[in-house]
């Protein structure tokens, strides 16, 4: 009897060994999203390098699944259980700032580190005049093409955003490609992805058509997201899917397996695509739907929670990550645009003449549009994702957009227009 009790207690004790298991030196807990295998390996290597390079701070890395990363972080923020340093997906930052969950970085990072930062990253990380987030890379979004196949149908291969295909030109190319393709599916939109991808990838289409997710001054979606321009742009996109031009890409091998000639995706596929296609890989700007080619920007960025037990330690690790060689390492791993000019200059991919130089041009040339910088962003993107899901499956585009706009505006009202707060903490 007594032994059984002890056994039970032991199990219970084992079961209850929760957070902060050991009792080691002042540690920095860091959260990172489970991204591409290369990113994962790189951050692990960086942590190891950092830990080995000094002995005052030990960094512990936790990988959280991307699919529910934001929900996890939100719950942890409510619980006051955020780590000392974490990654946030681009525009989600403003919600956390509004909640008072983050602390500014201005006074924590050396000015030299910040000076070289890409303007797009600086904008993305700034809120209310303070810098809250810093990315070690920015993103690039474009159309990857299979040069040989495209050439076979006589497609023009533009190298600048200004020369991007018009919507009609692109449709013509799709038709010609389809005619030569066994199953008629010639375009990859990464429909196998989930979540934020759809907002990131397809809101530039709205902007290119003269619409947007929300009115950037009033914050309201009604009249903008469901405007005729938006409906027209997304109806066109839906048409591609409806006509079978888009590969569902369940195995994520549509482009690498050369089933399709065009893949609408970001910089992170470069390593894989390059490995599969070699010199046949070509990077094109997204099509111009009337108001010039537009593309996405922003990516995962680092932030320090207000409740961090060691903001200086976290900042030290962050500064380490922003060193040119570390920025270069991460950018090399995921193909991202390096965060600083210095790193760009050293990057074989992004320096002038590099194969991905287009991305830099997009970010610095006003082609890339940041996603709405508002605490309402999680709701905006959720509404748009649902809307995209609807239209991708053949739903009525106008109805779906109107629903999304109404949801966004209702949330705005519910939160009393997201008044500036000092946060709760």
């Amino acid at each position: 009897m007594r032994y059984r009790l002890i056994l039970l207690l032991a199990v219970l004790a084992l079961a209850c060994r929760d957070h902060h298991g050991g009792g080691r030196t002042p540690d920095i807990e860091v959260w990172f999203h489970t991204g591409q295998p290369g990113e994962q390996r790189t951050i692990e290597a960086q942590v190891a390098r950092f830990n080995a390079g000094q002995d005052e701070i030990t960094v512990h890395l936790t990988l959280l699944p991307e699919g529910s990363y934001n929900a996890q972080v939100q719950a942890a923020a409510a619980a006051g259980a955020l780590p000392d340093l974490l990654e946030l997906d681009g525009p989600f930052l403003y919600r956390y700032v509004w909640q008072g969950a983050l602390r500014p970085l201005d006074d924590l990072l050396p000015a030299t580190t910040l000076a070289g930062l890409l303007p797009s990253l600086r904008t993305q990380g700034t809120c209310g005049g303070h810098l809250y987030g810093v990315g070690s890379f920015d993103s690039g979004l474009g159309l990857w093409g299979d040069r040989a196949t495209l050439a076979a149908v006589g497609a023009r291969l533009p190298v600048t955003s200004g020369a991007a295909w018009s919507a009609e030109e692109m449709e013509g190319i799709l038709d010609r490609l389809a005619a030569a393709d066994p199953d008629g599916a010639v375009l990859d939109l990464k429909l196998n992805y989930a979540g934020e991808w759809f907002t990131y990838a397809f809101s530039p289409l709205l902007q290119s058509a003269g619409a947007d997710l929300i009115d950037r001054t009033t914050g309201r979606a009604g009249g903008t997201l469901d405007s005729p321009a938006a409906v027209a742009a997304l109806t066109r996109l839906q048409g591609w899917i409806r006509r079978g031009r888009v590969d569902p890409n369940l195995d994520d091998a549509a482009f690498t397996g050369r089933r399709v000639a065009l893949s609408w995706v970001g910089h992170w596929e470069y390593p894989r695509y390059h490995a599969a296609l070699g010199d046949d890989l070509v990077l094109l700007p997204l099509p111009d739907f009337g108001h010039g080619s537009r593309t996405g920007e922003g990516s995962w960025q680092w932030a320090i929670p207000a409740a961090s037990r060691s903001p200086e330690g976290a900042a030290a690790f962050l500064a380490f990550l922003l060193r040119p060689e570390e920025v270069g390492a991460m950018a090399a791993a995921n193909g991202g645009v390096p965060a600083t000019g210095a790193a760009i200059a050293r990057s074989p991919l992004y320096r002038p003449g590099g194969p991905l130089r287009l991305f830099v041009a997009q970010l610095t040339g006003g082609v890339a549009v940041p996603r709405p910088r508002t605490p309402a962003y999680p709701v905006i993107t959720a509404a748009f994702q649902r809307c995209f899901d609807d239209l991708r499956n053949g739903g009525d585009v106008h109805a779906a957009l109107a629903r999304a706009a109404a949801a966004i505006d209702r949330d705005l009202a519910d939160n009393r227009g997201y008044p500036p707060t000092r946060g709760r903490r």
Partner: protein, 300 residues
């Protein structure tokens, strides 16, 4: 009453024995449920710096006005409307099949029951492969073979017309073994003399099924139907993993909406209101079961 010649030791022991479970139930079941009701009348969000407000019936009003939520309820209802009779019928068929003296009966029973022990998350992932679009998808290939090539392959999980039937088929495949086992136990509880008496009375096999088997299985059948109905309303894992409620809300469910609200969007109050509605649905089903299981009166 009984027990305990006034010994306090005994009473204390009783209280101590019941206490951990009662505390657990109070803390982790009763209290949250009360909290759900309370939360559903507020606009509480997780992590919002704004103070929460009492909003009365607003959450419920919005839910009932939300086409997506209405779709979720309709989906649950149609899922139940198909799964309850089909799965119960299939289970009855399997049970009757296995109630015979069949070579390898134990193996068949084990096979049909096996998916019941599989985690639904695993079944869902495996069936994503089965429903793979294109001619090489197993389901597409099977249907093509069955129709002599007339079948044109589709993307079941992204087809508004096919996503729900796809989930239904998988759910039946996974769950029918449970009902089968319950009904098999019910069949074996019917006394053999009843069948012998029926044979003596000249009943045909169909007559025996109608007048001996079915009445004898009344309780297990009702139980099985009710459990299946409740499971139909708890539908979540498959949806979250395979379709995320899509396409066009074709597979969204009450619980999927609750999780999407409370967890994905931090709209705790809305999620709470959904679970309260869910609870009322479950209570309605349980009440129906109680009524059905009441001893039969004059009316049949």
């Amino acid at each position: 009453m009984r027990g305990g010649g006034g010994d306090r030791l005994h009473r204390h022991a009783a209280a101590a024995m019941a206490a951990p479970a009662l505390a657990g139930l109070a803390l982790f079941v009763a209290l949250p449920f009360v909290a759900a009701v309370v939360l559903s009348f507020t606009d509480q969000r997780l992590g919002s710096p704004l103070a929460s407000r009492f909003v009365g019936w607003e959450q419920y009003r919005r839910l009932l006005a939300d086409p997506l939520f209405r779709r979720a309820i309709a989906n649950n209802l149609s899922f139940a409307a198909v799964v309850v009779p089909v799965q119960t019928g299939a289970a009855l068929g399997l049970a009757l099949l296995l109630n015979r003296r069949l070579a390898g009966r134990a193996i068949f029973r084990a096979l049909f029951f096996l998916p019941v022990v599989f985690p639904m998350a695993l079944v869902a992932v495996v069936w994503v492969v089965i429903y793979a679009p294109g001619p090489s998808g197993p389901m597409n290939a099977l249907l093509a073979a069955a129709t002599g090539g007339a079948w044109s392959p589709r993307d079941f999980l992204h087809d508004p017309a096919w996503a729900m039937p796809a989930l239904i088929l998988l759910s039946i495949w996974q769950g029918v073994g449970f009902q089968m086992v319950v009904l098999l136990a019910g069949l074996q509880a019917i006394p053999a003399e009843l069948y012998e008496a029926a044979v003596v009375d000249g009943a045909s096999p169909w007559g025996r099924f109608l007048h001996v088997t079915l009445p004898g299985l009344r309780s297990p059948l009702i139980f099985v139907a009710v459990v299946t109905a409740i499971l139909a309303f708890r539908l979540f894992d498959q949806v979250r993993i395979m379709t995320r409620g899509g396409p066009n809300g074709a597979t969204t469910t009450v619980i999927f909406e609750a999780v999407a609200a409370a967890f994905d969007r931090q709209e705790v109050a809305r999620g709470a209101a959904i679970t309260v509605i869910f609870f009322l649905l479950v209570v309605a089903i349980t009440a129906a079961q109680r009524r059905l299981l009441r001893p039969r009166g004059v009316a049949r």
